[in-house]
Symmetry: C2
């Protein structure tokens, strides 16, 4: 059986997903009045799952069982997800040459519901992707919580990954002109860990949160 | 004629669009092999245009005339755009209650091509939305640059706007437990203005860029 050795792009993709945490999933919703399928887009937390057969990977999505759009997705229609990091602004000497630094992945596939028996460990994977180390700090989910949560696996059948990280490329006549040009790198991160008002005394910021702040 | 007085939501939406600059547009692409319309999602710079008739607003999109997906959008099929800001992480005392702070708008409409005669001033609006004050610092676009740029107007027919900014809402038994809970506000901004290697001596960082850095 051929083994999959993830290429650099897939490693970069996994890193991008962990970093941006939110993807945008597109799918068709039926518009009753128009008897038409209207492409809809939804922001949703995403988690990369390398998969066990070493030949494919998937995205994990989750939300309330009450979410109409998530239920539509669970029916397995064609869907796509964009994962985008805006890394900076390219300020050129003309509007035309100005652009952005970004990392952008577009993934195609279909969703299916994760069965009840696998929900707990799949949700743990999702929690660990969002806040590494958090699962060990928390009680396990209750049966009621699991029942209220819809977990979807989107098996990725096709995807692309693109990076834009260059400098302005102005023509000579603009370089000779009076305008400034350069790159403005964008920074993101967490500013602080604000404790909730009802936090009991003596409970410190946990390691998982401290690591997020240090990133 | 009834005048539109934008509600607070529309003011907030306009601010959100200026802030995040990138939207995710969903539309149907024809998959030749499958003879099927596959919902596709594309990250793209977006600009809010309040419109002149005071009763509706639109989004402005732009890109290369060579972009296949932008040409598909220009044909006026049903489309939607998500505008999303991730503002923070809600770290609750259980995975179930943990969530995110966000501002999220979903907009529905159809795109049409901005005619040649309006392209210049529409692109100026877009540039000013991305880098306020930049147009006055730049030469005007050339005829060739305008010809290479596709500018789309998406007239918004329906939209929603949702904000999540609350604190963890843990049940009493979790509040009495050992886990920490709180909110991690997310910060974004530009870290620096790095001049391009071929910048001529004596050209300072312009006011438009200095203002972006100060934000």
């Amino acid at each position: 059986m051929p083994e999959k050795f993830p290429g650099q792009d897939e490693v970069e993709l996994a890193r991008l997903i962990r970093e941006v945490t939110i993807g945008h999933v597109a799918f068709a919703t039926e518009v009753a009045a128009a008897a038409e399928h209207w492409p809809t887009v939804l922001p949703i937390a995403i988690c990369y799952d390398p998969g066990q057969d070493q030949r494919s990977f998937s995205l994990l999505l989750h939300g309330s069982t009450g979410s109409r759009w998530l239920r539509t997705l669970s029916q397995g229609g064609p869907a796509s997800v964009a994962v985008t990091a805006l890394d900076g602004l390219v300020v050129a000497r003309s509007a035309f040459e100005s652009s952005m630094h970004y990392r952008s992945a577009i993934l195609f596939g279909r969703c299916s519901e994760v069965p009840e028996v696998d929900k707990g460990c799949t949700l743990d994977l999702i929690t660990e992707s969002l806040i590494p180390g958090r699962v060990a700090e928390l009680r396990t989910p209750t049966r009621k919580e699991l029942a209220a949560t819809l977990v979807l696996r989107m098996a990725i059948t096709d995807w692309s990954y693109k990076v834009s990280d260059g400098w302005p490329e102005d023509p000579d006549e603009d370089v000779a002109g009076p305008a400034w040009a350069g790159v403005l790198p964008r920074r993101t991160g967490f500013a602080a860990a604000l404790p909730t008002a009802d936090l009991r005394p003596g409970i410190d910021v946990p390691d998982s949160v401290a690591r997020l702040l240090a990133d």
